[in-house]
């Protein structure tokens, strides 16, 4: 048989010599290997205290962005929902009323915008599909929780805080 690489080593099927049959040298060798591992650098990262650095293209939880004046960028076009292979995004559009120009940038906005984080596969297609640069993925990931319901993130979970009008959090 043609070998694919030249690294293959044929199996040695010669009967063991007396020295090998004693097993003790082999055991001592193995023990030496495990002992050396005690002093090696540990692979574990102590998670909550220290975190592993993310790669620049890491895709974590979504946020809904605002523009420079603090208005929501999303216009509820639905392209992200269409692009989503896991069908995790749902939204409901509403028309911007007069006097709400400081809240929404476009004439149409998302009244309800939900992402089911249990369905989301963090592929980033929504980010690519968005024509208004409204949805972005961050470097955080979904925390643990007790109920499945709490993994459906609504607008108040997703929207970044308004830089102009900081809202008071009453929780």
């Amino acid at each position: 048989m043609q070998t694919l690489t030249n690294r293959a080593i044929p199996v040695d099927r010669r009967p063991m010599t007396f020295w090998e049959k004693m097993y003790l040298p082999a055991i001592a060798k193995g023990m030496g290997i495990t002992l050396s591992h005690i002093f090696k650098k540990k692979a574990t990262v102590n998670y909550p205290e220290e975190t592993r650095p993310f790669s620049p293209v890491f895709r974590g939880l979504h946020i809904l962005n605002r523009d420079e004046e603090g208005r929501e960028r999303c216009t509820a076009c639905g392209l992200c929902a269409v692009a989503c292979p896991a069908e995790a995004i749902t939204m409901e559009a509403a028309e911007r009323l007069p006097g709400e120009e400081h809240l929404y940038r476009e004439e149409k906005y998302a009244a309800r915008y939900e992402i089911n984080m249990l369905r989301c596969i963090f592929c980033g297609f929504c980010e690519e599909a968005c024509p208004k640069e409204a949805i972005y993925m961050t470097e955080t990931f979904a925390p643990s929780n007790y109920a499945r319901k709490s993994f459906i993130y609504g607008k108040d979970d997703l929207l970044i805080p308004d830089p102009k009008h900081p809202i008071t959090v009453n929780k």
Binding site: L35, H37, K42
Partner: protein, 351 residues
């Protein structure tokens, strides 16, 4: 016997204190052996091990114990109720009994009173340990049989035949040691090593055989056939839950501690350490240092037990039996023969 007829109350109290100290200590060490085991396993596998409960995870054994206590007690309906409870109790009892004859230190002086740090200095010390170890198999057998589960029964049979098989080479290795020491009292053996060399120098093969047999008697990897998880679903304690399971696990660690102490005593000088009589310290200080030396040696052996567990894979059952009967027993017999020949030669040459 002296103990029975003359009621020396201070003697009784002294022994009671010693017994409770040794028991408490072995329980404590067994507790922290579980922690140590997990730490050593983690280090060998490039992990960190338990480090959340308390500093360095030192409260982990308490958390584990609390968990075991609060788990549901289950006795299978088809099990033999009485024997099902007797099994873990026997395992725990025999594990604790062995510590009686080990000399934990030399003599401590409180004023005029000399307190020997050994519960019972009987002249059959080592044989007592052999006897109790032999009885220890009942814990496994009764528990495994009473569970009324075929996996438990298989494990019990494995455990019984393993312990009986490995007791023979162990005894033969010890005979060679006794031929040198001329005494079965552990105290005598330590005192001889204190004035001479450690017996591991005189009996390297005997020590090796004893070490291997100690692994087998404690059901530790690579001889943990009775609790082989992948074949027997956990072995003889398969049906046990809560503190009864805890007793079995505890007994295993106490056994490991006692056999480590025994190996340190028999082959590595026990509580004696080099130059202990030429330091010019007060006798009490030397005794305390001796206790520390014994525990240091014991901990080294416990570490060795764990180190082996996380290095070597488990034996196959026929390999285990083959090693015991076809390798260790002939080797031990040969060792005995050579030892006897050398002793004879040194006594009267070739006459």
């Amino acid at each position: 016997m002296d103990l029975m007829t003359s009621f020396d109350w201070s003697f009784v109290i002294e022994k009671l204190l010693l017994i409770s100290a040794v028991l408490g200590l072995s329980l404590l060490i067994a507790m922290y052996s579980t922690w140590g085991e997990r730490k050593v396993a983690a280090w060998i596998q490039d992990r960190r091990g338990p480090n959340r409960a308390g500093i360095f995870g030192l409260l982990q054994p308490l958390a584990d114990g609390g968990k075991l206590f609060f788990k549901e007690e289950i006795i299978p309906s088809t099990a033999n109720q009485f024997l099902f409870v007797l099994g873990p109790s026997m395992a725990m009892l025999t594990a604790c009994l062995t510590s009686a004859v080990i000399p934990w230190g030399d003599v401590l002086y409180f004023g005029d009173r000399a307190v020997t740090l050994q519960i019972a200095d009987v002249n059959i010390g080592v044989l007592w340990i052999m006897a109790v170890v032999g009885m220890g198999v009942y814990g496994i057998m009764i528990g495994g049989w009473a569970s009324n589960n075929k996996f438990s029964l298989l494990a019990a049979c494995r455990g019984a035949s393993q312990v009986i098989s490995y007791e023979l080479p162990m005894g033969l290795a010890l005979i060679a040691l006794f031929m040198i020491s001329g005494s079965l009292s552990l105290k005598d053996i330590v005192e001889q090593q204190r004035s001479g060399v450690w017996f591991v120098v005189l009996q390297p093969i005997g020590f090796l055989i004893f070490l291997i047999c100690a692994f087998a008697e404690c059901n530790r990897t690579p001889f943990d056939l009775p609790e082989a998880e992948n074949e027997l679903n956990g072995g003889y304690h398969l049906e046990y839950s809560s503190m009864k399971l805890g007793f079995y696990l505890f007994a295993e660690y106490i056994n490991m501690f006692i056999s480590s102490a025994l190996m340190a005593t028999l082959y590595f000088g026990g509580y004696s350490f080099p130059y202990m009589d030429s330091l010019g310290l007060s006798p009490n200080l030397v005794t305390i240092l001796g206790i520390c030396a014994l525990f240091l040696k014991t901990f080294a052996f416990i570490f060795f037990f764990m180190w082996v567990r996380w290095t070597l894979p488990r034996f196959r059952y026929d390999q285990l039996m083959k090693l015991g009967w076809k390798v260790l027993i002939p080797l031990a017999l040969l060792n005995m023969l050579i030892t006897g020949a050398v002793i004879l030669y040194r006594q009267n040459g070739f006459n």
